[in-house]
Amino acid sequence: MEDFVYFFTFQDPSIAWVVIGITLLGIGSAYVGTFSFLDKKALLGDAISHSVLPGICLGFILAGEKNPLYIVTGAFLAGGLATFLSSWLKKNTKLSEDSIIATILSVFFGFGIVMLTALQKSGNPEIAGLNSFIFGNAIGISEFDLMIYGGLSLTIILVLTVFLKEFRLMVFDPAFGRAIGFPINGIRFLFNVLMILAVVIGIQAIGVVLMAALLITPGAAARFWTDRLNSLLILAALFSILSGILGTYISFVIPQMPTGPWVVVFLSLFALISFLVSPKSGIIFRYLKRKNYLRKTHRDHLLKSLYKALEEGQKGLLIDKIYELYPFQKKEIHQSIIDLNKVGYIYNNQGIIILTDSGVTEAMRVVRLHRLWELYLNESLKIAPDHVHESAEQMEHLLTPELEELLEKRLNFPSLDPHQETIPREKNDLR
């Protein structure tokens, strides 16, 4: 708890710096990553992030120490080479994109690991810090590091904001972009540069292995919540910042704990929550919607049975009789009786279930939709009368008042369905 207060009150200026840094990094990478996710280029980000490792090592060798300028430049060049190679191979060979990306990722990363191991054997005391580039260590960032990584993040955010319209066009409809004379190839080149930069800014805090997650997961998680590009970008940035800060906190509290994996754990948590509970596309939401719908269908069926009893001259039905009608749905019917009683469509008179006035109206509506649909199938679509019941059983719960009106007009307000049963309306009320 003490740690928590100490960390989140930012008493320690170095913590404040790290949090500012990770916030900028989060916005920058989520921003770029969302576009590459929409562009279906998620794997490329993974390839680039693994490919920067040899560049980091080369920068270290040339500088002889952990100088961020050398390391960032080395990483950027290696990432650039990987990006260039992947598009060159795609253009000039018949290899598929995924095999190209897999090859580049493993070749570059393997080469980087070889260099890293060789460096570790060299006995340079500065080498210890180099390991943090694999899984990231946000706490170990120096102020000078922050200036460089933060500055680069700001550049990325700025360029993306200025060119928002152009990048939107590049992802959605590049052919149209070319047709109106936009330099789409140039815009794509600029985007690739930003993508490599977004990887490079994360190597210290998140590490090369997991940086792709910080690029792609925020956008993917945010996509569950919104259908608009602007809110998608903002939400993705928010997920990314929160995970970044939480991950940094963990690696601050627990010594020797790398930051990258924890950031990814929190990001995945956000993604999982989004997948489960977001409205429209979340699975829990869809499950509840479906459950509610099924409950409504059971209520409609009970109303129909009561109405049919009314047609046969019975004022109501014994509860036991109702259960007999639906032998495998006792629980559901029990629930329907409670529900319908609550809304005042039925009442229970000494074990006999009777429709109220409003209940009769509602039951008539369901029966009417059922019979109208049967007639429509039979008359307009020429389907035999003994084939129309199943479909009507489903449509009676779905048809809207507008569609009902259309059906009535189309069929010219019919009085009988294909089975010669009356289509109930207010004028032939049985009450």
Partner: protein, 262 residues
């Protein structure tokens, strides 16, 4: 049968286009008049879309050239509007109908500038012309095929061009929409715009177009509808197999290098 025109809106000179190294259009040469509704007809794989893309400069020609308003395409892009095939984009992209129609104003805005109120008003007018005002804020994935097509046409209208190139705007569109869109295109043509439409249905082509281009790897005919819609030319376009041309194409695509490249 090719009718050439003095002072054409669009002039295509001896155009050959290849994908990778497989030629898909052979020596196409025609010119088009202004203010006409023009149909490009031909069977599947005849190179209709390729022709449109080559005109827009989206595919570099192997040989030949295209001139629009007597200038190379890059000088007159602001006056040309392009409707790509509906399937060419991902309709799950997070955008509203308005967002997409606003893209039609990007060309005149140029780089950096964002669409403002003036552009939004224009977009709304264009949506009204295609009868989609009620869908302004709808997510594009929720639209039917016909509605998506109308959004694309509204986007093209927002370009305020003089020449319109449309790639299969009637694919997957219901009858009512087809008639409405054709009426709109007809009005555009009578106000002096030139509208070029890739189309697959010969029957409706008979009714709608003023001028027809028939294509099947090579140019079969280009001229006023009354002159080119003959049984003989239609059979040439759709019926007979182009055995020789197809064999040459196979020969070229099997080479280890591109023999047409100079």
């Amino acid at each position: 049968m090719v009718t050439q025109i003095e002072n054409p809106v669009l002039e295509i000179h001896d155009l050959t286009v290849s994908y990778d190294q497989t030629p898909v259009l052979w020596n196409v040469d025609f010119s088009l008049p202004a203010g006409k509704l023009i149909g490009i007809l031909g069977p599947n794989g005849a190179g209709k879309s390729t022709l449109i893309k080559a005109i827009m400069g989206l595919i570099p020609p192997t040989s030949g050239y295209v001139k629009i308003f007597d200038k190379p395409i890059n000088d007159v892009r602001a006056r040309i509007s392009y409707v790509p095939q509906r399937e060419s984009v991902d309709w799950n992209f997070p955008a509203s109908v308005l967002d997409v129609v606003l893209m039609g104003t990007y060309g005149k805005l140029g780089l950096f500038k964002r669409p403002g109120r003036k552009e939004k008003e224009l977009a709304m007018e264009c949506l009204e012309q295609v009868g989609m005002t009620g869908f302004v804020n709808r997510q594009i994935s929720e639209l039917s095929g016909g509605q998506q097509q109308r959004v694309f046409i509204a986007r093209a209208l927002a370009q305020q061009a003089d020449l319109y190139l449309m790639d299969e705007p009637f694919a997957g569109v219901d009858m009512a929409t087809e008639t409405a869109i054709f009426q709109l295109l007809r009005d555009m043509a009578s106000s002096g715009k030139t509208v070029l439409v890739v189309h697959h249905d010969i029957h409706s082509a008979m009714n709608f177009f003023d001028w027809v281009i028939m294509l099947n790897l090579h140019l079969v005919a280009s001229g006023p509808k009354s002159e080119v819609m003959t049984e003989e030319l239609l059979r040439k376009t759709y019926g007979g197999k182009l055995n020789l041309l197809t064999k040459v194409t196979d020969l070229i695509s099997k080479k280890e290098f591109n023999p047409l490249k100079s």
